[in-house]
Symmetry: none
Amino acid sequence: MGEVRAKRMPRAERERQMLDAAVRVFGERGYRAASMDDIADLAGVSKPLVYLYLNSKEELFSACIQRESAALIAAVREGAMGGGAADRQLWDGLRAFFTHTARNPYGWAVLHSHARTGGEAFVAEVMAMREEIVAFVTGLIVEAAREAHGDPALPGREVAGLAQALVGAAESLAGWANTDASVTAKEAAATLMNFAWAGLGNLMEGRRWSPPPGA
Amino acid sequence: MGEVRAKRMPRAERERQMLDAAVRVFGERGYRAASMDDIADLAGVSKPLVYLYLNSKEELFSACIQRESAALIAAVREGAMGGGAADRQLWDGLRAFFTHTARNPYGWAVLHSHARTGGEAFVAEVMAMREEIVAFVTGLIVEAAREAHGDPALPGREVAGLAQALVGAAESLAGWANTDASVTAKEAAATLMNFAWAGLGNLMEGRRWSPPPGA
Amino acid sequence: MGEVRAKRMPRAERERQMLDAAVRVFGERGYRAASMDDIADLAGVSKPLVYLYLNSKEELFSACIQRESAALIAAVREGAMGGGAADRQLWDGLRAFFTHTARNPYGWAVLHSHARTGGEAFVAEVMAMREEIVAFVTGLIVEAAREAHGDPALPGREVAGLAQALVGAAESLAGWANTDASVTAKEAAATLMNFAWAGLGNLMEGRRWSPPPGA
Amino acid sequence: MGEVRAKRMPRAERERQMLDAAVRVFGERGYRAASMDDIADLAGVSKPLVYLYLNSKEELFSACIQRESAALIAAVREGAMGGGAADRQLWDGLRAFFTHTARNPYGWAVLHSHARTGGEAFVAEVMAMREEIVAFVTGLIVEAAREAHGDPALPGREVAGLAQALVGAAESLAGWANTDASVTAKEAAATLMNFAWAGLGNLMEGRRWSPPPGA
DNA sequence: CATGAATGAGCATTCATTCAT
DNA sequence: CATGAATGAATGCTCATTCAT
């Protein structure tokens, strides 16, 4: 039993408890290895109640993904909401991203590590979330290019690739920061900004790294 | 049944077949969702034979990770083996990486997506492989700094973070290239080089992006 | 299916049914040869329910041993509880033993024949029960010696051997009585008393059978 | 692998090796828990060879029972073969029994502990062996009665019961002696003789222990 | 004679899911 | 609203047994 069973609470709160438990168990064990028994136990409710509220393991997992996705996106958006120059917005968004993932390791594990293991449907859901972040980042890059150069010289395809790289680097650094406790969100964000900003700037001004002629 | 059953073949060959099948099934479904029945079927053998040769699901998965890790590292090393300047080596290594992951999507999925879901032991194995690649990349970065500036001004901690970011970006782009068939290995490599090279160069010369004062 | 399935009964009763079935199947086939399927079928429940209540085959077997041991010891103790002279108590205990084993052939088979085959842990459990009975019998023998001769001339080691022999003879006669239905518990008890009593009496008075000189 | 594989030995010897291994493995683990793999390994031969020579697990186990039964009976008969008075013969036979079982613990375990767990057929085989010993002992008892009293006053049924008790006591003491290494075969035999002889003598002279009137 | 290669069938165990109360 | 009772369907793994060489 996860905790003392407090009877008769409003449905919304019960559901939140269940989702909390589910996110934790899914995040620790993965979709398949997590059992509905464990989740119900940790939530302090009986299994049929979980089914009554959330219908099935699939829907429960889906609900976890939805909630954690929304929370992550909201955190990043809110972080970047202060406005300012594009680099400032990117910096703020990254810090919010690293802070949020460090504070919600189970939710982040669900999104980053385990969503892929539960079948096509979940992959799609997480991809949608990821696309939303990528789109957000893409917007920032384009805006930065416009600010700096008036005219975005970058083809959309290239911007998409850059955003993918940036997001992947961020994900990797999030894992790094979660593994090594001495790495702060701020440090991870700084590392990534340093890594990315000059490269982005170069590209926006049309300077490219050229592959060696023979390659 | 996966294919026509060719009976009575030498053990080494059968084992390879089994590993091929296992990599595919694990890559498609993940560790837990993959069933030994499916793997045996796809390999065209009975389950007991799989156990006779590979002992258990855990060992089988481990063997997959080992084989695919070794193959990926070998591909990257071989790609970069031509020597030349550090940027050239990085470029060659990245191309080899994207080419290999594109050609071995199941193996890549096992390493990148699913190894985390099978328990601590597997995580450790994949992390070891990842560390090997990160160390390789780190070496290239340090060497590049030395070539360009005589003295590596970067602290080890910062280099580690950069390597993490670079590898994460590469992983993300590999997923991008695998999802969107129109993205070639070369294009992914070029995107990443362009993204990363100037940032790295700036850092090596001590130029950093500075967070805005109020942050 | 063993019997008509009466649905929805309280846990305690279901557990008793399961133990009844398990004792029977274990007693008939032995630990290894007994299958959880057979036990569940005979109990009229599904296998998962057996696992929900009894956890594992090992624990189920252990529970059988515990229950049957306790029942047998209780029967013997209650039989001998009437008091009286030591020979009277022994006689009463033996009759109770033969009656109980005849009425519970499966339980007796579990204890006598099959507990040895399920691994060290079970051996220990049955040995503990056997030691309890041996100790009980030993006590009667010592008491009888005291009653008859004031001073027990028998060393403890010899008493232990006698008790072992007596219990072994009883076990053998229990098998005999179970095999040949015409042998009653009373007859088996009388045979054993006749066999044992005079020998015990002789020993208590210090008269021993002497091995021939050349041996 | 149990030992170095010496190739090409005559069939009889190979079969003996296999039986040795089988007796040991069956004796240690019981019929069901013993695996043909273990037996073949311990015998230092391949599994198909075991099947070629001994046909099946059942037949192999049966062969073990036959061989060990014959050896035990032969040992007892040979021990008692010296002749002399009936008590001397019984004493010699018992010593031979305890000596043999102490020297062949695996064989004894097969006969005493595990033969019951392999199904009806094996029980019958062991029972036949046991009946042979019981008959032998019965003969000694009857002979002793004749020697001492000229006329056997004991009904056959009573003699059978006594023999059962005596053999059971011997079996129990064999287990005792095998468990506690400080108990010698001679001591076990003396304990049993002392236990039994006076009781048998009394019975032969018509003196019986009488159950208390009210029982 | 002897074995490496191979399998059909079974077993203990677990899990998502559903009723009856 | 909430739960104790119950199960169909897998799943990892093992074993006795048999060919093809």
